[in-house]
Structure formats: C-alpha cells, structure tokens
C-alpha cells in the first residue's frame, strides 16, 4: 500500500521535493510518525500550524489521527490562507 504525502511550501524547500511516498501505513497517526522521521527535527516547527487532510478532507472532520488510509490516498499538510 502506498500513500502520497504532500508538504507545505517551507517543508518542500527544506526537503527539495513537494511530496514523497510512504508505504504500509494504516492510519494517519502511523503516517505522521513516518513523515516525522523523513522530515527530521524541523517537522514540528513546520507543521505546528498545519492541519492534515486526507484526499482533501481534514482529519478533524474524519476520525482524527485514527483516520484509516488506503492505497493511493493523498495526505496533505495545509495551512490557513486567504485569497481574493
């Protein structure tokens, strides 16, 4: 099973890529643990104000960290922003 992780802009700058893939994760909690390993010590700083969305749906509107993942899912870290 493979899940794509989309990063915030500042994370992508630090890592040199805007996304990476993780395998064999059943829940958002497991995915975050793997993402933390991959990003390193700056993970908390980069994601403190970011919400987590699975295929566009915030985990807070699903089952939180227990939200289950399926093959091909896209998990994004998103920050508040305003357009016009």
């Amino acid at each position: 099973m493979r899940v794509t992780v989309e990063l915030t802009y500042d994370m992508s700058k630090a890592l040199g890529t805007d996304h990476f893939e993780v395998e064999d994760v059943a829940t958002v909690k497991e995915l975050i643990a793997k993402a933390r390993e991959r990003v390193g010590p700056t993970f908390e700083e980069h994601t403190r104000l970011a919400a987590v969305a699975v295929n566009g749906v915030l985990t807070s509107h699903a089952k939180g960290l227990g939200t289950r993942l399926a093959d091909g899912d896209r998990v994004s870290f998103v920050k508040a922003a305003a357009g016009g």
Partner: protein, 629 residues
C-alpha cells in the same frame, strides 16, 4: 449633507454631450450607504425593464461611499454598477487603484453615464470648476489600458478600458492603475458607449463628523492589521497566491475545467514560489492600504508588470493544467492590458479546451499545452476568429457548441476559483448571488476550507446561514466601499496562533459549528447596538450615524433584495439559482458519491431570506427592509 459624502451626483449624457451636477439623495444614502447600494437603487429606478445592456439606454454608474477619500485602510475602491451584458441581470464590480480617491477629491460621490457617443470619446472632469470636457479619443482607441493611462498623464485619476471593452467582449472590465473592476462585463458597457476613459481631478477634502476619533481609531486599526497574521504577514508576503497550496490540499483548486480539485504542479503556481522565484521585490498597493497584496513580476518584452492574483493563477494555471508560472504572468499581463476579467478568461479557455478534447470544437487547444493561448487572448480582445466565440462567455458558447453540463458559470458569470464541492456554503453563494457565480459577494470558503477556523465543508450545518450573512455583509462592504480583505481581520490573531490539533482549536471549531441559533437570530432580528467592528466605527465616526452588526446586516439585506428584484424584473428566476451540472453530479471527493447538495440547502436559504420557494422575496420582507419596487 451627511458627513462623509461630497454631496454631488454627476450625470453625463454622451449622446447629447451634456452634463449636470445634482445633489446626492440623502434618503438613498441613508438606506443604501453608497457604492454598490446607491448605484443599484439608481439603476433600478432610472432604467426600463428589458433594455439592451450594450445599448444607449443602459446606465454605467461609478459610485463611491462614505469611507472613500479617507485614510482608512483598504478604502480606496469604487463600485461600478450596470446591466450586465454577460448575465442580463445586475452587473457590478469593485476596483482598487486610485479613481475612487479622485472622485471624492473632485467632489463627486456618484457618476452616472448615459447614452452613447458617435465617436470614441473621453471625459475630463474638473471637480473644482464643476466642468466636464468631452474630448475626442480616436487617438487612444485601439490602445491597451497601460498605454492609455500613461498617455493621460499622472496629474489626474483615471478609469479606462482596453481593446476588450472597445470590442464588446462580454467579460471586459474597467481599469484604474493596475487594478480592474473585472466581473460581469462593465468594460463592454463602457465600450458600447464609445467611452474610452474618464479622468477626474479636484482638491476637495473629506469632511467627517468626528475626525479626531476617526484618526485615533484608524491609527490603532492600522497597527492591528500590520500585526495580523493574515493581513500583515501572509497576504503581505505572498499575496493572494499564498492560498494555492491550501486550496490544492483541500481539493478545491479548479483543475482541468473543474474536472478535479487538485493539481500536481500547484506548488509552482503558489504565492510562496512566486516570492522565491518570480517577484522583482516591488510591491504595489491601493492608496492607504497596509496590506500591499500586489506584487510585480518580469514579463519578457514587457518589463516589470503586475503579477497574477490567486484567481488568475488558478484559472489560467491549474484550470488549464498549465504549471508554467511565466506563461500565467504573461497571460495575466495581457488580460489586464486588453482590459478583461482573468477569471472569465480562464474559464472560457478551459471550456474551449474541453470542447476540443471531446471533439466538439475544431481547434488545437489542449489542456496542459500553452501553445497558441497568448495569440488567442489577443483574438478574444479583438474578436477575431475563434476569439470572437470565446468573447461571448461560456454560457453563450455552450449554447452554440454544446457542453452545457461542463459550462462552468452561474447566470452567465464564469465561476471563481473555489470548487464548491469542497465548500458547500460557497456553492450556495455561487448559486444565489445576484450577479452570478462569484466569490467576492460572499466568501464562505474562508470559514469552510481555507481560513484558520474551518467548519466541516461537507456537513449541511450553517450552509444556508453563512451565505445569507456573508452576502449581506459583502453588499454593505461594497457600498462603503471597502476591500473584502478587511473581513479577514475579523478572525483575531490569537485564533491564527492555535495549532489545529490543539484542544483550544477543537473547542473553537465546535463553538462555531453550533452557532446556528445565534446566526439565525442575527439574520432574522438584525439587533441594533453599538458599533464594534472597525468598519462600523469608521462609518459612525465619519457620518455621525450609528452602525452596528445589525445595521450592516439590514443594509446588506436591503441591497441584496433590491438586486434580486432587479434580476426578476429582467427575466431571471429562481431557476437560475443553480450550479453547473458537473458540480451537482460529478463527485471529486473519494468518500462522496455525488457533487454539491444544492437541492437540500436552497429551500433553507430561501426561507432564511424571507423568500418564497421560487426565490422571490415576500412582500413582507420587502416592506420590512424598506425596499421600494
């Protein structure tokens, strides 16, 4: 005269080449404030039903409000109101730049343009001398908005059209400096009158009821905005493009003519990417605005020009599956210079690409392929070849070529860049907004999908209440006239600082989601009290009248209902309060089987508005709001 107003309405008749200064109607000003509200009242009262939007009987009304001409942040905007050549209903747009300040310095609250000139003409208005000159504009006809403004000089304030307006492109706009009154085709109306440019000058100063209180309070608000995470930081650093990664992550970034809500190449269209790779370091702002959301980029052969906003990045980028920011920069420049709405432009291009893709249009246009697009934009502005078809807008194109189910418009106005399948309240706003599918007459996406405190966008909770309140608020904001960005300041700094995973944030979201009874009370009762928010206080200090949240909601509801009555008079009905079939029936979220649930929300929305189930305001509603029809 109420303070905050210049006290004059200038009426210009282009057919007779005459003008008259009239006193501002204080009763209308009290009921409708100014800007869009005042101008809508005039359009309703002074035009016959069924007129041709591009004929001499249509009025083109430029209107300011009591905040314009002051130093209140985000207050240098004017409204333009007319019958829309795109929708056949109410047309309006607001614009930053400097023209609004010019009008107030010239001592003009409202400028009404009637009739049609035989030859290209421009107006020079000297407010101090109360004179209007009708000048031959043949030498400017055929020129872009930038060159036109340069030719007119820097000693006056200008509103101009480009080639798109001259050639009656139905989504042409009116430009002041590098800003545009983009939506609903106001520029085509100006072009139909053969009016190339309006220049104003004067030395009048705005009179206020309590200038000292205004000055002190504005100083405080300016500091508050500077320190605000959205107004003083994110928008300042990254412009509106700073939202691209958020809408993409939330699956609402229009992609491939709204076939999807996610674009793999979004990062290179983002405000952050622009900041790091494209910006020249020069920012631009409307006068007295501390946000400075504008930013300049380099375009080959054109030099340093205004960079694209979020809507343009999405509609000329992801929506065409183009991830090349330099192309978007160039097309944005072309749209501004020709004087056309880049939102509608992006949607007519994506519609044409999908028609080509499906074999319904004989063209070489392809999603993801920028070749030929620059030339086609020029063809649209000049109505050449295929460009002539695209200049008609998506609704008319779909009538000619088919593709109704993926023609992305409401009432004829092409949709903005927030896919409502991931923002249900925004979808209700698109469907019901009187000028058509648009995000600036109700911006609930900020509370559902992009802001720091978002409720579940797929729950039906608050999805009728938020649109009513938002539309009312924006009607009044557009009548003061203020920039919609001011509303972003309503969520305090402290909320922006909460981690979305924190307990405090969860509690705040829960409180918001359960605010239905309070919102319904405000909508129905509109309780009047003391001014609390900054724009309520500004209005109070300037005019001497009291404005509170209840007043703002009531005035907004009055304007919204008048717009609705105008639309009904012009033949639009509740049947037009809908969304494109693609948005209703094609799901873009993995856990959902269909699109936007408009049928479940519209009856609730109508009920809250005090309308019948055909979308017609009840007599009691109109009487209560004092909407004379």
């Amino acid at each position: 005269m109420i303070k905050g107003y210049a006290g004059r309405v200038l009426e210009v008749d282009l057919t007779k080449q005459t003008f008259v200064f009239k006193p501002l109607d204080e009763d209308i000003a009290r009921l409708y404030v100014g800007g869009k509200g005042y101008a809508t009242r005039l359009l309703y009262d002074e035009t016959e039903a069924g007129i041709d939007p591009l004929g001499p009987d249509n009025l083109l009304i430029f209107a300011t409000g009591p905040l314009n001409g002051s130093v209140a942040p985000q207050s240098n905007r004017f409204s333009v109101v007319t019958k829309s050549p795109l929708t056949g209903g109410i047309g309006n747009a607001t614009c930053g730049g400097s023209f609004s300040l010019g009008m107030k310095k010239a001592g003009i609250d409202v400028l009404v343009v009637r009739g049609r000139s035989e030859k290209p003409v421009r107006l020079e208005i000297d407010g101090d001398e109360s004179q209007v000159s009708f000048l031959d504009a043949s030498d400017l006809w055929g020129k872009g908005t930038y060159e036109t403004q340069e030719s007119l000089g820097k000693k006056k304030y200008h509103a101009v059209i480009g080639q798109a307006g001259e050639n009656l492109v139905r989504f042409a706009g009116i430009v002041s400096n590098e800003r545009i009154a983009g939506r609903t085709g106001t520029g085509a109306v100006m072009g139909s009158k053969k009016l190339k440019a309006i220049s104003v000058r004067g030395k009048r100063k705005l009179e206020m009821e309590d200038p000292e209180a205004f000055k002190e309070y504005t100083k405080h608000i300016r500091e508050l905005f500077r320190d605000h995470p959205m107004l003083g930081q994110k928008l300042k650093d990254f412009g509106t493009g700073g939202i691209v990664m958020t809408t993409n992550g939330r699956n609402i970034l229009p992609t491939r003519n709204f076939q999807r809500g996610h674009f793999d190449g979004a990062i290179k269209l983002s405000g952050e990417w622009m900041h790091d790779h494209e910006l020249t370091g020069v920012k631009s702002s409307c006068i007295h605005c501390p946000v400075t959301c504008g930013r300049d980029v380099e375009v080959e052969g054109k030099g340093r020009v205004k960079g694209p906003e979020y809507e343009t990045l999405a509609m000329l980028g992801s929506n065409l599956e183009i991830g090349d920011i330099k192309k978007v920069n160039e097309w944005n420049y072309l749209a501004d210079d020709y004087g056309m709405d880049s939102i509608s432009l992006g949607v007519v291009l994506s519609f044409a690409m999908e028609l080509s893709d499906k074999g319904m249009l004989d063209s070489k246009l392809k999603f993801g392929d920028p070749s030929g697009v620059s030339e086609l934009i020029g063809d649209i502005a000049h109505r050449r070849g295929l460009g002539d078809d695209l200049a008609e807008g998506v609704k008319r194109m779909s009538q000619a070529f088919g593709g109704h189910e993926f023609a992305m418009h409401v009432k004829g106005l092409e949709l903005s860049a927030y896919d409502p399948r991931g923002s249900y309240a925004q979808g209700v706003e698109y469907a019901t907004t009187n000028r058509g599918g648009d995000h600036t007459q109700g911006a609930s996406m900020y509370m559902e999908s992009t802001g720091p405190l978002t409720i579940d966008p797929h729950s039906l909770k608050l999805k009728a209440e938020l649109p009513v309140m938002q539309q009312n608020l924006m009607c009044t904001i557009n009548s003061m006239v203020l920039c919609m960005f001011t509303t972003y300041g309503m969520i305090p700094k402290q909320v922006h600082g909460m981690s979305p995973s924190s307990y405090a944030h969860k509690l705040a979201v829960m409180a918001f989601e359960n605010s239905g009874p309070a919102l319904r009370f405000i909508i129905k009762k509109r309780p009047k009290g003391k001014p609390m928010l900054w724009f309520e206080k500004w209005l109070t200090y300037i005019t001497g009248q009291t404005f509170s949240t209840g007043h703002i909601q009531e005035i907004g509801a009055r304007i919204f209902n008048l717009e609705r009555m105008y639309n009904l008079r012009e033949g639009l009905t509740g049947q037009d309060d809908t969304l494109p079939p693609r948005l209703l029936h094609e799901p873009t979220f993995k856990h959902l089987q269909s699109g936007h649930p408009l049928d479940k929300l519209l009856p609730r929305y109508y009920d809250l508005r005090g309308w019948d189930q055909d979308g017609v305001p009840l007599r009691d509603t109109l009487e209560e709001l004092r909407v004379a029809v």
